[in-house]
């Protein structure tokens, strides 16, 4: 009968499959940290993938004595999962590239090596102080920036021109910024067709928008010694009131406009927002979307500009088997020619000041603009291990105001109290 043959076939197939498995499995049952291997866990995926691969290839060519074994992780949070589990099992990598705030968390537990010692041959003063500020804890450098992203005012030139505005000369202060946003807003009755100002897509963007305006009003997130929160003062209230006015007085956007998983559904890339806070990572998709994209510095309240930088940094695991090779890799990656090459291939702002001004970097239209806006970032950073929680709390406060559930004063006071108690617990 047919059913017997099929069952026998199925069984023999299963047995053969089971028998083949150990052979396949033994092929990769190697130990994690073999001798003389530089284990490198990086986050150089997506648009940074090519740049990362070229960097690794160049390093292997220049240092044939070191066997580089690298693994890629898509998101900082995924690399973080890996790091926390591996640190715990003492099987971590020698070297990582990670978003700076995670590195500070690892450093706060003594899990990263002091780079000041390991990179004694490097002239740290040659690197952008704004980016370096994110890698220090106290006076110790635990985390060395490879590159940073910077923020500018992203423009849809077509929408602005249609509104009678000159996109070559941007708004010079907050009053003008509001006028621009209002003028560029398009509505069909109550229906928003194009937002004058796209506020944020997620918590991180909400936090960054607030931080930029806070700086523009002359404030900062934390006190200079990073021990107390300072964002709920008059500057913070002014910043959040500005956001509130954009939504409720100027009606330059709707509450929640653009909020969502981003990606394809970013309204700016669909030509539905005239202004937004852009980073160098915004360029590719804005151009693909056919946007007449441009970048200008973000105006301060009374003239002048502001920005922020967001670095991705190297860290060497404390107690790494191959610390020397890890340090060699960092030195190699932050050398002038590799800083330029990485910046050009990945469209990110290099950490080395000389590389920022390199002719090839300056010749890249958009990258040059973001290098310029990076120069408006303050030389200080909210470099505290409680950063990610502060970010969430501030973002929540901003959204409460945008959704009309709270006033700027109350929302900021609540966030500030919570941040203060977190900082207190740390010290």
């Amino acid at each position: 009968m047919t059913k017997h043959t099929t069952r026998r076939k199925f069984l023999s197939g299963t047995v053969a499959g089971l028998a083949a498995m150990p052979i396949l499995m033994s092929a990769s049952g190697r130990a994690l940290a073999a001798d003389q291997q530089l284990i490198f866990w990086s986050q150089l995926a997506g648009s940074k993938k090519t740049a990362g691969e070229e960097l690794e290839k160049a390093f292997t060519a220049a240092h044939p004595e070191i066997t580089l074994s690298s693994s890629l992780y898509a998101e900082p949070s995924q690399l973080n999962e890996k790091m926390l589990t591996a640190i715990n099992g003492n099987t971590g990598p020698d070297l990582i590239v990670q978003h700076w705030d995670y590195n500070l968390i690892y450093a706060s537990g003594g899990k990263l090596a002091d780079l000041g010692k390991g990179l004694s041959g490097v002239d740290v003063a040659a690197y952008d102080p704004s980016l370096l500020a994110y890698g220090r804890q106290g006076d110790t450098l635990f985390s060395m920036p490879l590159y940073g992203t910077s923020r500018g005012l992203g423009l849809n030139r077509k929408l602005l021109s249609e509104a009678g505005l000159n996109p070559d000369i941007g708004p010079k202060n907050w009053a003008e910024l509001r006028q621009w946003a209002k003028a560029a807003t398009k509505r069909n009755g109550p229906m928003l067709q194009a937002a004058g100002f796209q506020l944020f897509q997620n918590d991180l963007e909400a936090f960054e928008l607030f931080t930029l305006l806070l700086q523009g009003a002359g404030g900062s997130l934390l006190s200079a010694d990073l021990t107390s929160a300072s964002f709920a003062g008059p500057e913070g209230v002014k910043a959040l009131t500005f956001i509130q006015q954009l939504v409720y007085e100027d009606k330059a956007t709707d509450p929640g406009f653009a909020f969502g998983p981003g990606g394809m559904s970013n309204p700016f890339n669909q030509g539905r927002s005239a202004l937004t806070i852009a980073g160098n990572y915004s360029t590719n998709n804005a151009l693909k979307g056919g946007i007449d994209f441009d970048v200008l510095p973000i105006p301060k309240e009374n003239g002048g500009f502001t920005s922020l930088v967001d670095p991705f940094c190297f860290g060497v695991r404390a107690g790494a088997e191959n610390e020397a090779a890890a340090m060699k890799f960092i030195e190699f990656a932050i050398s002038p020619e590799n800083q330029v090459a990485f910046a050009l291939a990945s469209k990110n702002v290099p950490a080395l000041k000389a590389a920022q001004q390199d002719a090839a970097v300056q010749a890249d239209k958009y990258l040059a603009k973001f290098v310029e806006t990076a120069s408006y970032a303050p030389p200080t950073a909210p470099a505290t291990p409680v950063f990610s929680r502060m970010m969430t709390l501030v973002a929540r406060g901003v959204q409460e105001v945008v959704y009309g559930k709270s006033t700027p004063e109350t929302a900021l006071k609540a966030a500030s109290d919570e941040v203060a108690s977190l900082l207190l617990k740390r010290s």
Binding site: K3, T14, G17, L18, M21, L24, M25, S28, G29, R30, A31, L32, A33, I39, W41, A45, G46, S47, K48, K49, S69, S70, S71, L72, Y73, A74, E75, Q78, E81, K82, L84, T85, A86, N88, G89, T91, P93, G262, G263, M264, P267, N269, Q270, G271, R272, G279, Y281, S282, T283, N284, N285, K288, G289, G290
Partner: protein, 308 residues
């Protein structure tokens, strides 16, 4: 079956079909229309994924989005397949999902059988334990499971206490272990085994068959529909699993397709048409597995003789 019997069977089936077509009633037509409507709604997001995978870079940002792509941008598929590790990832995914499926089929059906059909001390406790473990949130297990996989004695350079080496990390065994037998599977097989009438088993027992023989020769064939369901559910969940391959392996040559997909959609400037092309490609093998299994879900019981 003789040729005559076959002929009769075909006749009968044809007659049945004719009957069902003849009896058009308004209720039936409305019901069928509803079914078609539900199918269209259900399929829409899937079709949208496929359609996006054929769009050009510029087209995916067009607003409002068009449902039908302007043309077929095969380059997206070429780019998705061009990743140097794609072939290796496919093999890893097949081994991982295949291994997880086979071990679930074997272990869950055995355990489910024991819990449903055998009398033994502690049966209720074991069953309560299985159902209780179902409720343990997986996200809190990440670190403990990593440590356990790392500390398996005598594996990956470990001594008998499980220290010194890397255990089953970076091996297929280690990757499969957390999902090798699931409370979901055991619970499901137990529920299905309790539904099979006792008579089948009793007659075999009277013939002196051992428990294993009864299980293998009598109950497993009767449980074919539920085995097919367990198989497709296990395969699909391992195929789409992301956390365990991420945590339990750290080498490029151990990565699965889901990890590869994550790398493609990394960052705010991901190429979504290529991501969708990759997502479409990844979905194809599971659809094939489902088509294979669903036949057994519905026809299994008939051919194994439950309905006589």
């Amino acid at each position: 079956m003789t040729a005559l019997a076959q002929h009769v069977a075909i006749e009968r089936r044809a007659a049945a079909r004719a009957r069902s077509f003849r009896s058009y009633s308004p209720a039936k037509i409305v019901g069928y229309a509803l079914l078609v409507f539900a199918a269209i709604m259900t399929m829409m997001p899937f079709l949208w994924m496929v359609s996006t995978s054929f769009k050009t870079d510029q087209e995916i940002f067009r607003f409002p989005l068009s449902f039908v792509p302007d043309g077929f941008e095969w380059q997206n598929y070429r780019d998705a397949l061009n990743a140097p590790d794609a072939g290796r990832q496919l093999i890893n995914s097949l081994i991982y999902a295949g291994g997880s499926t086979i071990s679930n089929l074997v272990f869950c059906s055995m355990a489910g059988y024991a819990l449903a059909r055998m009398q033994f001390a502690g049966r209720n406790i074991v069953f309560a334990l299985v159902v209780g473990l179902l409720m343990v949130p997986a996200q809190s297990q990440i670190v403990p499971v990593y440590l356990i996989v790392q500390k398996i004695p005598f594996a990956g350079g470990n001594d008998w206490l499980g220290s010194g080496g890397t255990g089953l990390l970076n091996t297929y065994w280690g990757m499969i272990l957390p999902t090798a037998a699931t409370p979901f599977g055991i619970f499901m097989m137990r529920q299905f085994f309790t539904r099979i009438p006792m008579e089948y088993e009793e007659s075999a027992r009277l013939d002196g068959a051992s428990s294993f023989t009864i299980f293998r020769r009598v109950l497993l064939p009767l449980a074919k529909p539920s085995l097919a369901v367990l198989g497709v559910l296990s395969f699909q969940s391992a195929w789409n699993e992301f956390v365990w391959p991420l945590i339990l392996t750290s080498q490029r040559d151990m990565a699965t397709l889901q990890l590869g997909l994550q790398l493609l959609q990394s960052g705010p400037d991901a190429r979504w048409n290529v991501v969708m092309a990759m997502a479409t490609l990844i979905t194809t093998p599971v659809i094939l597995a489902y088509l294979f299994a669903q036949r057994h879900v519905v026809d299994g019981a008939v051919s194994s003789g439950v309905k006589g």
